[in-house]
Symmetry: C2
Subunit: 586 residues, 2 copies
């Protein structure tokens, strides 16, 4: 299949069936062993590794050359496939070796800064600077092959469902709503700028107005945000939209996509996915993306714990805890660690109360002074705890306490080994609030985005109970990671204008920024809705890693730099001049 002028086969193809064939191969020197009389070279390409053998007795001149060849040299050889005396059952080509008759050094190599092996990577900085060498390592290449396979399976599924892939523009218009845009100065329209899309949101909605009915795109998006480990300034989205649908239609189609991907890529059957409202997710897990691979659902103790003289509980808006099965043997030291954990600023609790349900059935808490056995039995009953369980309780203001307990729950999930990377627990989270109040800007922000339709039954409360209006919005969560999110959109100009007003847009601003969309709604916009999946994150989830960088060929670092090509970089004064911009004085 890969026969070219430089090879008749690849380093992953030859087996005992090829013995006695004359073949040619090209690849890199992965390893070489000079045993005096014989020299062995492992030749590597994308497809595998094949052992070459050179013999001083039968071909001394060639063997002498082979002895001088270093790691990562590029060779082209001709030889005969021979049965190995010392077979390697762990290698696809382990039954054979090649007795080389012709050797052509296609290129030499300096000593690489790290050895190209599965387990050596020279550290993050070195890997990124020499990414072309890092990518030679099999685990890294496999990550990108997984990405390719997943993109292909996404397309297979979407095509089979009659979705049309449409390319939307990359040079668009800057809109201040949402995250910060990357902008591109226009030379032909001086003083004006394009923006790179944060998502193709408005274009996919226009495609629905245009009657495209079912659209998708695997597409690069851009956000100029301060970066965290799992964020990149450019990232890839599976972007989808459907017309003439309600929420249920969208959920069914994309549950199908997720099931297809798990089956086609990992051979895993995913059953009908559970659904949970945002309200339940927050109440039971303190988190709008709960990891439901394990239980430890929140149990609220406020009612049964207040008025017993324990000030921390009495003054708390919420007393809430989790029950950890099989952790009753936690030592004082371990419990102190947990207390330290919840007190970390990122977690934000002020302390932690525990109740140990000992294996002998007795109960022991850190607040025995305030709660007698009867009271503690009520706690135990609330959690339905069993001997051997450990109950951990936090108290304080509701939102902050839930957030802290969610972190503690995930920590306990890790400690109890309940978060297996090979178990996948998808979940739909539904009924998000439409708006959240932003204290900094003193205005309502759209929780999803400004194009999201409120639930029709909540529309009458838009002005009176803005914070309680629920959106026709949904997130797909897998193992505690938000993999996708979407909504049914507004398709009515008046409602869209009303939402912009609630979000603090003046009529002029709304018109200037989104006039084209609101105008489009006047020419027969159909009901429509969609979803977008974070493709980098989905691939890393399938690959079993927390870092999306491992699944991006040429990622940027936390300062937004590509250290391999050294970008961004300065540009010439002539370029600046043509663009009619200049640098500001520092």
């Amino acid at each position: 299949m890969h026969s070219t002028y430089l090879r008749t086969t690849t380093c992953g193809d030859l087996t005992a069936a090829n013995i006695n064939q004359t073949i040619s191969l090209s690849g890199w020197v992965a390893r070489s062993r000079d045993l005096g009389g014989m020299t062995f070279i492992d030749l590597r390409d994308r497809y595998g590794i094949t052992q070459l053998v050179f013999n001083m007795e039968t071909n001394a001149p060639l063997c002498e050359i082979a002895r001088t060849i270093g790691r990562e040299f590029v060779l082209n050889i001709k030889g005969i496939v021979t049965e190995r005396s010392n077979k390697n059952p762990n290698m696809a080509t382990g039954d054979i070796e090649i007795v080389v008759s012709e050797l052509n050094i296609l290129n030499t190599s300096k000593l690489p800064p790290f050895t190209i092996e599965d387990t050596t990577d020279g550290g993050e900085e070195m890997r990124m600077k020499y990414r072309y060498l890092d990518l030679r390592r099999e685990p890294v290449r496999k990550n990108l092959q997984l990405r390719h396979k997943m993109a292909r399976e996404v397309r297979n599924f979407m095509d089979s469902m009659d979705f049309i892939e449409v390319e939307t523009p990359v040079l668009i218009k800057s809109t201040p709503e949402g995250a910060r845009d990357f902008v591109v100065p226009s030379r032909m329209n001086q003083g004006e700028f394009y923006a790179l899309p944060q998502s193709p949101q408005t274009f996919k909605q226009l495609l629905m107005v245009a009657g495209f009915d079912r659209y998708y795109q695997i597409v690069k998006c851009f956000r100029d945000e301060d970066l965290r480990a799992d964020r990149q300034p450019e990232f890839t989205q599976i972007d989808c939209e459907m017309a003439f649908v309600e929420q249920e239609d969208v959920l069914v189609v994309f549950e199908g996509l997720v099931q297809h991907l798990f089956l086609a890529v990992k051979g895993i059957t995913i059953e009908k996915m559970p659904r949970m409202t945002y309200h339940h997710a927050m109440t039971l897990y303190g988190n709008d993306k709960p990891d439901i691979r394990f239980g430890m659902q929140f149990v609220e103790l406020t009612a049964i714990t207040q008025g017993k003289g324990f000030k921390v509980f009495d003054e708390a808006e919420l007393v809430v805890g989790i029950c950890v099965s099989g952790a009753a043997d936690y030592t004082r030291k371990q419990l102190d660690e947990l207390t330290d954990f919840v007190k970390r600023p990122q977690v934000g609790a002020t302390g932690m109360i525990y109740l140990r349900h000992n294996t002998d059935g007795t109960l022991k808490s850190s607040v025995d002074k305030f709660f007698n056995e009867d009271e503690l039995n009520k706690w135990s009953a609330a959690f339905d705890s069993k001997p051997g369980d450990l109950i951990l309780v936090l108290a304080g203001t509701a939102a902050k306490t839930r957030k802290a307990l969610s972190e503690l729950r995930l920590e306990m999930g890790n400690r109890m080994n309940l978060r297996d990377k090979n178990t996948f627990a998808p979940l739909w989270v539904l009924d998000f609030p439409s708006f959240e109040w932003n204290e900094d800007s003193k205005r309502w922000h759209a929780m999803h985005h400004p194009f999201t339709s409120p639930k029709p039954e909540d529309i009458p409360q838009l002005d009176t109970e803005t914070g309680n209006v629920r959106a026709n919005a949904y997130d797909l969560v897998i193992n505690g990671v938000e993999i996708g999110g979407g909504s049914i959109r507004i398709h009515n100009k008046e409602l869209q204008a009303k939402i912009f007003k609630i979000l603090g847009f003046s009529e002029e601003d709304a018109q200037a920024q989104f006039g084209f969309l609101m105008n489009a709604f006047e020419y027969g916009a159909p009901p429509h809705g969609g979803i977008a999946f974070g493709f980098d994150r989905l691939v890393s989830l399938f690959g079993g890693s927390d870092s999306i960088r491992d699944y991006i060929a040429f990622p940027k670092n936390n300062s937004g730099r590509d250290v391999m090509i050294d970008a961004p970089s300065t540009i010439s004064e002539m370029q600046l001049k043509e663009l009619a911009i200049q640098l500001r004085d520092k």
Copy 2:
């Protein structure tokens, strides 16, 4: 298949087999006819058109509503599939109509600025401003469906050949070589800029160094050029690269891709493609992308026409012509038109000589005064002309005359109807020169790009006969349009450095801009080569149009503007400040 809450089927699905079924449909009002007692509405969606019928006798209230409904309203109806008395064999759904029992107006529509029909488009400006309405027209939507289908077939083929699709970055580094870059100011690295890629050239080469072996990508690329009708600031490329190959390997694989596309998309079998050297293309067609759907190859007359006293020929570096079969009956007026044509500044000839080979066998030329019958017989012999042919001759400096004659040849191809849009004549053009001299910058430019390998046998002449060095470069031309181009790349640091030197790069510049690539070459770069196809142009060729804009969902106009969303646009002072740039005073 498309059953949702808002429809059980689509407007393209129902046939006589569905008669008596109760169905629901959603779509747009394409047309409505109020016949008094009955009202007919053609309901349109992406899949087709279905006729709805409302009857005053059986359901007067509903029929009254139907009479008020305007074009492009969005309807959801329920009804019974009924046999039509007046069948329409030209429509997939022409055997049936829907007797409507429930009618739900999902959205109203203002009167569109142009009627949504195949043949009405309101003119280019209106189409682009209301692109979401233009896209509702079937021919426009079909163009984008063709694009989707072609992208799918490209991926099917490339996947079947073991190519891996890898996403390369969009935020890269600006390099002055080649066309002008779009740049993106970096907020996190103030004073520095990313550039948008003109192509993923260096990244795909690094993927070869990384051992990816076979890479492809359907990818957006960007060029900040002054725009012509067939250029867009952002365009899409099928970008491919292979390792361990020579030119022949690349040609074979991508000839296969082109054959696959023609067969899968258009049902056309493409035979083995002819090949032609650049030298032959220029000599025989005056053009490095000859349209070989028709002959009219150039015949040089310099030797047999000089020294006869005709100054125009005597002073010319080249006298060259074409023979147009069946055009001997061209009138004086038509010949004058052709003379005017070649004298247009874009064509650039100073005049045109003709020789008519009359149907009675006699020869008549515009320069009978200088050339007697014997001499004209020599011309006729050179062209192997037949009675009925018309020979057209230009003279002047070689390059300019060839270019002008190439234009005249294409014009005659058009006039003689030899350029049928449904005939496809692919051609490989090979052996391009490596360099061309640029008079403006007084230096050599790379004809393909600086990474192209010269032919090994020409490398010794790099310094001595720079202009005669041929590249291992190839173009795919179909019907006179350059559809793809590629080359075998340099994989050796010294040769790459040498080429940069010939192109006028200082060692420092070469290192600053392409150091990462040259460094990569030191760690075992394999021989490699590839090709890139202009996807927009390929789709428009398949679709039978000259304009790539017809195959782009949201194209920009000749000023680089998206007139629908009004981009580019000004951005806020705060955005400029965060990016540490400011506008220059005009």
